[in-house]
């Protein structure tokens, strides 16, 4: 297979690291090569966090450059807009319909962008390079699955429905390895819900 580069854009504490770890564990479970590059440490809480995930037959670098992401998985729209330049020509973005304004916005030091503006800005950039943008009500779906924290798994489901990068069995095992018990049940549920979405309904043109 061709190497796949996935960028996960999130706010520290939203579950971006768990998502990258689930993909890595599942990919190794499926016998693929994988590398991730993370920003770790408690001090990243509520800060911008980016994880790089690379899956393929032979992977060397843990990170990649702007213009090289096949897919961006976004847990928050400001963070997606901050990282949209990572998307390659024809790449796809799956993002939660979520805005968490940073303190700089609330203090009036920086702009406090509206959700609709964020979506249209990202959408116009994606259009420039012939990509696709899916804005998914991940919170709503995660809450139905049992907990808003499972938003990350909803996005994984939506992404994997299109790309079939990972087998469901490996994803399930990876989830339970990281999140045993009820948290795992909820996450698997959220993943399956994300997978069964009719993605056409969420495509922004």
């Amino acid at each position: 297979m061709k190497n796949m580069n996935i960028l996960i854009a999130s706010v520290g504490g939203q579950g971006g690291l768990t998502l990258s770890r689930v993909i890595a564990l599942a990919a190794v479970g499926d016998g693929k090569s994988v590398r991730t590059g993370e920003t770790l440490g408690m001090a990243q809480r509520f800060g911008s966090v980016v994880s790089y995930v690379r899956v393929g037959d032979e992977i060397h670098s843990p990170v990649f450059d702007p213009g090289d992401a096949d897919v961006i998985l976004g847990l928050e729209l400001i963070e997606v807009s901050r990282n949209v330049h990572y998307l390659r020509r024809g790449g796809k973005i799956y993002t939660a319909d979520e805005v968490k304004p940073p303190i700089s916005s609330s203090l009036g030091i920086a702009e406090n962008p509206k959700k609709s503006d964020l979506i249209s800005r990202v959408s116009s950039k994606v259009k420039e390079i012939g990509g696709e943008l899916y804005v998914i009500p991940a919170r709503e779906i995660a809450v139905k699955a049992g907990n808003y924290r499972a938003m990350n798994m909803v996005l994984l489901g939506a992404f994997n429905a299109s790309y079939s990068l990972l087998t469901d069995e490996s994803v399930r095992k990876a989830i339970y390895q990281l999140l045993p018990g009820r948290k795992g049940d909820i996450s698997v549920n959220a993943y399956m819900q994300g997978k069964s979405l009719n993605l056409k309904d969420y495509r922004k043109k």
Partner: protein
């Protein structure tokens, strides 16, 4: 799957630091210690999470030098030991490390020093490869998680073969990278064997002995390259007279670039796993086959200097390029594209580069103090106390230290004036005062940082009768690096009972003029205590004690939360302007909202709302 107990031959996805922990277990390491510091902390944390029931000692120490001395004490008795630290920690441990090179060890002693090119979370872009030159200790470096694990085992073998501590040098992109790792055999932990009195070896008070040991050290170093040759740490791939010499994660970027360039032949890639002593025999042979060399390495031109020196010694007509020739930057971490660009220039190739879109502007989101963080209350209390005492903010320097509380530098709190190195707040405040500064000075320091390096400075300030206010921010945990234990805990992570130290008893024992313990959530008392003590002569200490809110929420759940009644919010933003709490935000209706899931219920915003718009909501 438990990464420490998985049987040999298991293939699992491990983070570099988890792989190092596994390597330590495979090597039969009995004593593991260190001081938390990104990107090194997860090695011991992995042992704490997965090592229950294993017969090993794995505990944090007060600072890196104490940790190293513990590891050294174990290794001179024949046990295998590992000590972990981030790059600045190596500076703290430098004194005993340099002496240890003269005494040597009997059991394997591996020193993990984790550098942080970028820097991503560190005060400097220190290149600790020079530390090997300085200490004359062997240094090896892995490129990925698999090697990170394997190299710990090799480092132990080397350490026992040449009787020297061995430095395992890593960088963030190895420590914090997840990749596939195949596990190896696990050896039983190697504990104390014997320790015999031998003053020439272990006493550094004899200068003749020291000269003898120095000569011994050089002789031992001469055995390293030979011993390691069977492990294949240095490798050559490909062929040709154009050579790329690299190490660490740089190697992975080089391989990535070759695959992007579609090159399988015509370039020789030389990967060095042994950094010190420089593998001269191996490199001499390699260099003789090269017309041109590109050195790909992060930070300083370390290998570049070595290669240039060797080419000069061998009188070879070979062009060596790297940092000095500006092909690669000395500042910041390398990326696949900076390496690709350098390789293209070196190989005179043209390749289509990835094209994306222009960057979109987005509001900055530096990490703030967490919701309900007790440090927020401490600093707001400190600033209001300073104002209430009749000073302007710019009249009272607030010296900061290393820990989460350094995030108070950002708006809206804008508290600390300095953040320098572990424990520096007190000494620097003292120096300013002694130099003739007339106003009050404040040193703010965390609980773990106080024990790490703050105590000698505090003793100095008390002894020298320097007037200052010391605010000890005691959140009862090493928070910033992921909630590790401190010396005030009654139990280690693996459950061994310990004697909890009392900060107030320690500080009183030193002779501080005033010692007051305040709950920072009682902000009025914080303010009045600061107001009272800021003008008082002597060293006056406030211990602001409340557990890290995130840690407490994780352990005990969230007791209450707050919400905003929109009709009452007059959009004055007092709550946000005072607290800067990330659970607060301004919605599209211009009113303040609380992200209920992020609120941990301290109620500080409610206290400062002039319109009572913020109210408590019951649990659930």
């Amino acid at each position: 799957m438990n990464p420490l107990k998985a049987p040999p031959g298991t293939k699992i996805a491990l983070m570099g630091n988890e792989a190092i922990a596994r390597g330590a277990i495979e090597a039969g390491t009995y004593v593991m210690t260190g001081y938390p510091g990104t990107p090194s902390s997860e090695v011991l944390m992995t042992v704490h999470e997965f090592g229950k029931g294993l017969d090993i000692y794995a505990e944090w120490a007060a600072n890196e030098r104490v940790a190293f001395e513990i590891a050294l004490g174990a290794a001179i008795g024949g046990a295998r030991a590992l000590v972990t630290m981030k790059a600045p920690g190596a500076n703290v441990a430098a004194d005993p490390i340099l002496s240890a090179a003269y005494s040597g060890v009997d059991g394997g002693l591996v020193i993990l020093i984790a550098d942080d090119p970028g820097p991503i979370t560190t005060q400097t872009e220190q290149d600790s490869r020079w530390f090997a030159e300085l200490s004359k200790l062997p240094m090896i470096t892995p490129s990925n998680p698999q090697e990170a694990k394997d190299f710990v085992v090799i480092a132990h073998e080397l350490s026992e073969a040449v009787n020297l501590p061995v430095i395992l040098r890593t960088t963030t992109r190895v420590n914090h990278t997840v990749g596939p790792v195949e596990t190896g055999e696990i050896k039983p932990p190697k504990k104390y064997v014997k320790f015999v009195r031998n003053p020439p070896r272990f006493v550094r008070a004899g200068m003749v002995w020291n000269r003898e040991r120095h000569a011994w050290l050089l002789q031992q170093l001469g055995k390293v390259e030979d011993f390691l040759s069977k492990y294949g740490l240095n490798m050559v791939e490909g062929s040709g007279s154009k050579c790329v010499v690299t190490e660490g994660v740089g190697y992975e970027y080089v391989m990535e670039a070759l695959s992007k360039l579609g090159l399988k032949e015509g370039v020789k890639v030389v990967k060095l796993g042994l950094l010190y002593p420089f593998p001269k025999r191996f490199m001499s042979e390699v260099l003789r086959g090269c017309d041109e060399v590109l050195v790909v390495e992060e930070l300083d031109p370390y290998i570049e200097f070595k290669v240039k020196e060797l080419a000069y010694e061998l009188k070879l007509d070979v062009k060596v390029a790297g940092k000095a020739e500006k092909l690669l930057p000395e500042v910041g971490e390398l990326t696949p594209s900076t390496v690709l660009k350098a390789m293209k220039g070196f190989l005179h190739l043209d390749v289509h580069e990835s094209e994306g879109v222009e960057r979109l502007e987005a509001p900055p989101r530096p990490p703030p103090l967490c919701p309900s963080c007790p440090h927020r209350n401490s600093y707001i209390g400190l600033i209001f106390g300073i104002l209430k005492a009749g000073f302007r903010r710019e009249e009272v320097p607030i010296f900061g230290d290393i820990g989460c509380y350094a995030l108070s530098v950002n708006p809206p709190i804008n508290a600390i004036w300095t953040e320098h190195s572990m424990g520096a707040s007190i000494g620097m405040a003292m120096g300013l005062k002694l130099s003739g500064f007339k106003g009050p000075v404040v040193a703010t320091i965390g609980d773990s940082t106080l024990f790490h390096a703050g105590l000698p400075a505090l003793a100095e300030a008390i002894h020298k009768k320097v007037d200052m206010l010391v605010l000890i921010l005691d959140n009862e945990v090493v928070a910033m690096t992921g909630h590790q234990s401190t010396l005030t805990w009654g139990k280690t992570e693996l459950g061994r009972e310990t004697k909890p130290l009392s900060i107030e008893e320690v500080v009183k024992g030193m002779g501080a003029d005033t010692v007051v313990v305040v709950d920072p959530y009682d902000i009025d008392r914080m303010i009045s205590t600061v107001k009272e003590l800021i003008r008082k002569p002597g060293v006056n200490v406030i211990i602001a004690r409340a557990p890290c809110a995130l840690h407490a929420a994780r352990l005990y759940g969230v007791q209450k939360r707050y919400t905003v009644i929109p009709e009452r919010c007059k959009e004055c933003m007092a709550c946000i302007k005072i607290t800067g709490c990330p659970a607060l935000y301004i919605g599209e209706d211009h009113k303040v909202h609380i992200l209920v899931e992020d609120c941990l219920g301290c109620g500080l915003c409610a206290k400062y709302c002039p319109f009572d718009a913020i109210v408590e909501v019951s649990k659930g």
